[in-house]
Structure formats: C-alpha cells, structure tokens
C-alpha cells in the first residue's frame, strides 16, 4: 500500500456558507497501480490531486502516505515527502525556462541533497528513459510541447518516487504528442511505476488499468469502491 485515504472532505468557505468540494473520498493506491480519475471540469479533480500530492490538507478524514499520517506532518516533512516519494506532472509542464532540460530534471535531486555529479548522472538517465537523451542541453523554449512534457515526466521519475501524480498531462498537447506521452506512461507502468492520473478525457483515461469517476466531489468506481 502506497497511500490510503478515508472519508476525505475538503470545504472551501464561500462567503458565509461553505462549498464542499470533496465529499467523503475513499481511495487507496498500491504499488504498480495505474489509475485514472475522470470527471468533468469543476468536479474537484485538482483539489483531490493537491491533497494526494501533500500540497493541500483535507478539512477532515484520514490520509496515510505509507506509514505516515499526513495530518501530523510538519511543513518540512511534507516538503521532503513530496521531494522523495511523489513525482508531479502538471498540465502546463512547469519547467524553469532558464534551465536546461538536464538541470530541470535534476532539480528535485538538488533539493534532496544529492551530490552534483550524481545528480547529472541520474538526470541523464531519466532523460534517456523518456527518449530525450539528445536534448539534455536544450532549454524549454527550444523544445516542443510534447518534449517539454517528457522532460517534466523525467523530472517526476528522477527520484524514483513511490507514485507519479499527473494532472491532465495531455491537456496542453496536440493529440499526437498526447499519444506519445500516454505511450510513455504505459512504458513506465510496465517498468513498475505507480501512476495516478487525472483527466477529463475518456480516451486518455482508457490507457489506465483502473478508471475512477469523480462528480461533484464524490469519487466512485475502481476496485476500491466495491
């Protein structure tokens, strides 16, 4: 078991009332899972992803990451957890424009306190895995959207995280680059990676082993619910 959520709720205060964005969400992710969470815009996907990624805290409910109770973690511990156990892939890549592909990929290792030579070696390796061995010294503005997203995926996997969290990874890509990215996820999954992906696109969700649905903050489907 990599992570498990029980009765997770998230409220946002809206004036005097509160909006319930997540309602009693139960979710568990095991090693080797490839899960897609599907739902329309505004259904609470990103909110859920932020909580899973320890960027946000739930209003109520229990969230265990490995053995750790997230509620009891300090900011610093959460930062370390995000650094070592989670790989993020964002819709809009979020690469640092002034850094080369290699330096972008090596960034999490820098924050993890890895030595420079080791960082470069592992970043190169990660770029090879996403098929960009020949683009190490390119900066993001010299790469296509699909290549940028593959660099971002390399950054997500460089620290061998327990789980890769991808929020609409193909949302900003044309269909061809999108397909390439999905192929890459497929390969990574076959190599043993655990992937949790969010999308509103059925064709994208279908690449996953398990599809779950979220609507108005209620998560359904998948093995967990039965």
């Amino acid at each position: 078991m990599i992570l498990s959520m029980t009765d997770i709720c998230k409220d946002y205060p809206m004036g005097k009332s509160v909006t319930q964005v997540l309602k009693n969400v139960n979710l568990s992710v095991s090693e080797g899972d490839y899960i897609a969470i599907m739902g329309p815009s505004g259904s609470g996907k990103t909110t859920l992803m932020n909580i899973i990624g320890c960027l946000d805290v739930p209003t109520s409910g229990e969230y265990l990451f490995g053995e750790k109770d997230i509620k009891k973690c300090k900011k610093k511990q959460l930062a370390d957890l995000r650094n070592k156990k989670i790989g993020f892939v964002f819709q809009s890549f979020n690469l640092l424009p002034k850094l080369t592909a290699l330096d972008n990929v090596a960034l999490p290792l820098l924050y993890g306190g890895v030595r420079r030579s080791e960082r470069r070696r592992r970043a190169k390796e990660a770029l090879e895995r996403v098929g960009l061995a020949d683009r190490v010294d390119y900066r993001p503005d010299q790469l296509s959207g699909g290549q940028c997203q593959r660099v971002a995926i390399a950054r997500a996997i460089v620290g061998n995280p327990d789980v890769i969290l991808a929020d609409e990874p193909t949302g900003a890509l044309d269909s061809q680059s999108g397909a390439q990215v999905m192929d890459l996820f497929h390969t990574l999954h076959e190599q043993g990676a655990t992937i949790l992906m969010i999308t509103h696109d059925r064709n994208v969700a279908e690449h996953a082993e398990t599809i779950m649905h979220i609507k108005d903050g209620v998560l359904t489907g998948g093995d967990q619910d039965e």
């Binding site: 930062a79 650094n83 964002f90 924050y111």
Partner: protein, 415 residues
C-alpha cells in the same frame, strides 16, 4: 550555497539594466561615503604630517591659567611663578625622552616693531642659545646668536626668511636696523626652519594655524627682552623629544616638572601642547562637518535599500510560478528564503563594489580638481562592501520571507 550565488549572479546579469538601476542608490551612497572617508583620511594624514611629521619632534610648553594660555602681552606678571633658569633646563634634559630643552619669551603679535616706517605684525621670540637647535632652524645668511650677544646684551635680531620679504621688501635684512619698543636692534642673520612637509591648507583651521606662523618670526636674545619689555616675564619652554612616539610623554613630564618646581599655588600651571591631541582635534573638527555628508550618503543607502526591496518584491511576483513549482517538488521554505536573500545580497554586493570603485575614482578626481589630499582606507572599503551586502540581506528579507511562505497551489495557478 555556491549554486545559489551562481544562479543569483545569472539572475542579476539577465536583467542588466534593471539590476543596475536598482543598484544605483547603493552605488551612489557607497561612492559618496568612500569619497568622503578617503578625503577625510587624506586630510587627517596631511594634518598629522604638518603638525608632527616636520621631523623636529618639538613640544611647546606654555604657562596656563584656567586651562588657557596666560597672555603676557595684555596681562600682569603672574604671581608665584619664577622664571626658567639654565639649571632648570638641564634638569629637564635629564627627563625620560627629552633630548633638548630651551626657554624663550614670546609674543604672538608683537607691537612696536618697525623697519623705517613699516610696522611689523608677527611673532617675536626672545630665545636662549639652545632654541635654534631645539627647533631645527638653519641659518640662511648672516649668523646666529653668539655667546657675546648674550653676555654683552647686544641688541641683535635674527629674522625668519618670510620676514625678509614681508618687512624688508626683499632687500637683504642683514646689517639693517629695526626698532623694537623704541630700541634699535641690528639684524644679524636670516633663518628658516627645516620642514620636511610643505603645509597644505585644507580648511579654515589649517589656515589659522598656518597664518599665525607665516606672519613671520623675529628672534632676539632673551637677555634683551628686559630692555624692550618687562623684567622677569615667565618663559615658554620648548622641548625636543627623542622620538615622535615620546613627544606626548616627554612633553607632559617636562610640563609637570616645571609646574612643580617653578610655581607656587594652583592658579597657574605649565601645559604641554599635545600635538597629537591637536591633530585629533582637527580631525574631529573636519569629521563633524563630514558626518553630515555621511548622513546624507546614509539616506541614499536607505533609499537604495528600499529600491532593492521593491525590485525583489517584483521579482518574487514575477517568479511566483517558479517558486510554486520548487515548493511542490520539495524545496523547503528555507531554501527559497536563501535563494532570494542571496540574490538581494549579490545585487547590493555588486552595488557596493561598484560604489567603492566609483568612490575611489571620485576622490582622486576631486583631488586633481580641488587639490584635496586622498588616502584610501582599505578597512573602510571592506566595511562599505560588507555594509551594502548587509543592506541587501536586510531589505531582501521581506521579499524572501514572502517567497518562502507562498502557497504552492496558488503559486502554480499564478499567471
């Protein structure tokens, strides 16, 4: 850490114009301070050289009352003060650090001195036979005072070279007769003091000091003082210290000895003029004037600091997404904090370095144009650079803390 500094330099470099404009306040402030400090230091060293570095190592000891020199020109003879004898002087020479001692009588602006119809306004000295040696005078023409001049009470006078031109219109004074309080004196020689450094006049205080001396000096044998002036006027004493370092202690020892042995009661006392103290008085005088300038420079630094804070806040806003991403992938708050602090510090460090360079340049330029002396103080430069870096850290703190506390979710949504 080094990565941070490297990245910070890159950041500064990638916004050259903006960085420069941000640094400008710091550059101007630091440059002003360095210019002022260099000029102060130059002036001080010049003053010190003029006062004590003339190589004579002489200390003047004068009779004081209530902390001021007792003015014999306008006042009655002091009661309970006897005159200095040859024996007293030989006792003084035995004191630690004293090489030579001489007693003399003195008027800063002597009255009743004429050459023909020309009145003299300058100093008059009634000196013993040691005086010229004690004060490092050399004879330019004519002769010095001889033993006969003293024993036979010859009304002879020796003039300083400046008097030769001021009173005698450039004619050779030797052999001419001047009138001192209606008594005729024959000028027998022209002397000048061996001064290692030419005096440079930087400010009003210097000017007063210098002009008091440069009105000229006329010397007569002290035995003749009684003829033109009063009997038994107490003398001034000048001692020559063995080394410059001993000037203060030797001067004080001699003054104390004189007070103890020549004076009854507490009304009067002999005091050595401490030239080092005078020098530092002058220094503090010039420093007060310049302190105001330093304040102005300080305000410029403050404005510069606020400019840095402003630009760092802009930078934090511009890079909100970048910060959000870094926090998301596990950068701790402290690392973000340091990143921005380093950037602000690098910015102001460079500003400080440029400011020091500009300040040194400006000081030398001023020196060329206005003739002010310059001395570069390395500690001042180091402190200036360190201080400007500190300004960066202080004013970078607010933006850096702001950056480190960003909410990553909102930061990543930022456009």
């Amino acid at each position: 850490m080094f990565e941070n500094i490297g990245l910070a330099f890159q950041g500064v470099w990638s916004h050259k114009l903006r960085s420069f404009l941000t640094m400008l306040g710091i550059i101007i402030g630091i440059a002003a301070i360095i210019t002022i400090v260099s000029t102060i230091k130059g002036t001080n060293e010049q003053i010190k050289k003029n006062l004590i570095g003339s190589g004579t190592n002489t200390v003047q000891i004068s009779l004081n009352r209530d902390g001021n020199e007792y003015d014999l020109q306008w006042s009655a003879l002091p009661e309970g003060v006897r005159t200095v004898t040859e024996e007293d002087l030989s006792e003084l020479r035995k004191l630690e650090g004293v090489k030579e001692a001489s007693a003399y009588r003195y008027r800063s602006y002597a009255d009743g001195i004429f050459y023909g119809n020309t009145a003299y306004s300058g100093a008059l000295y009634g000196i013993d036979s040691h005086y010229f040696a004690a004060n490092n005078y050399i004879i330019n023409s004519g002769r010095g005072f001889t033993a006969d001049d003293y024993t036979k009470y010859r009304k002879t006078a020796i003039v300083e070279s400046t008097v030769a031109s001021s009173l005698f219109n450039g004619e050779d004074p030797v052999g001419r007769t001047i009138e001192i309080m209606s008594e005729p004196y024959t000028v027998v020689g022209v002397v000048s003091q061996v001064v290692v450094n030419e005096p440079v006049i930087n400010n009003l205080q210097d000017y007063y000091m210098y002009s008091a001396e440069s009105g000229g000096t006329i010397f007569i044998p002290d035995v003749c003082w009684d003829i033109s002036y009063r009997y038994d006027e107490p003398q001034r004493v000048v001692i020559r210290a063995k080394t410059t370092d001993e000037m203060a202690t030797a001067g004080k020892a001699a003054a104390d000895w004189l007070s103890e042995n020549l004076i009854q009661g507490n009304t009067y006392a002999y005091k050595a003029s401490d030239l080092l103290e005078q020098a530092s008085n002058l220094q503090s005088l010039s420093q007060t004037t310049n302190n105001q300038l330093i304040w102005i420079a300080g305000i410029s630094l403050l404005v510069g600091g606020i400019g840095v804070m402003n630009i760092m806040l802009v930078s934090v806003t511009e890079r909100t997404r970048e910060i959000g991403l870094k926090i998301a992938i596990g950068a701790r708050g402290r690392r973000i904090l340091w990143q921005f602090l380093t950037e602000a510090a690098v910015l102001t460090l460079m500003g400080g370095l440029l400011g020091v360079g500009a300040g040194i340049g400006l000081a030398y330029m001023l020196s060329n144009v206005m003739g002010t002396p310059v001395a570069i103080s390395i500690p001042a430069c180091v402190i200036a650079v360190a201080f400007s870096t500190l300004i960066g850290i202080i004013f970078g703190l607010v933006p850096a803390v702001k950056a480190s506390r960003l909410n990553p979710i909102e930061a990543l949504r930022h456009e």
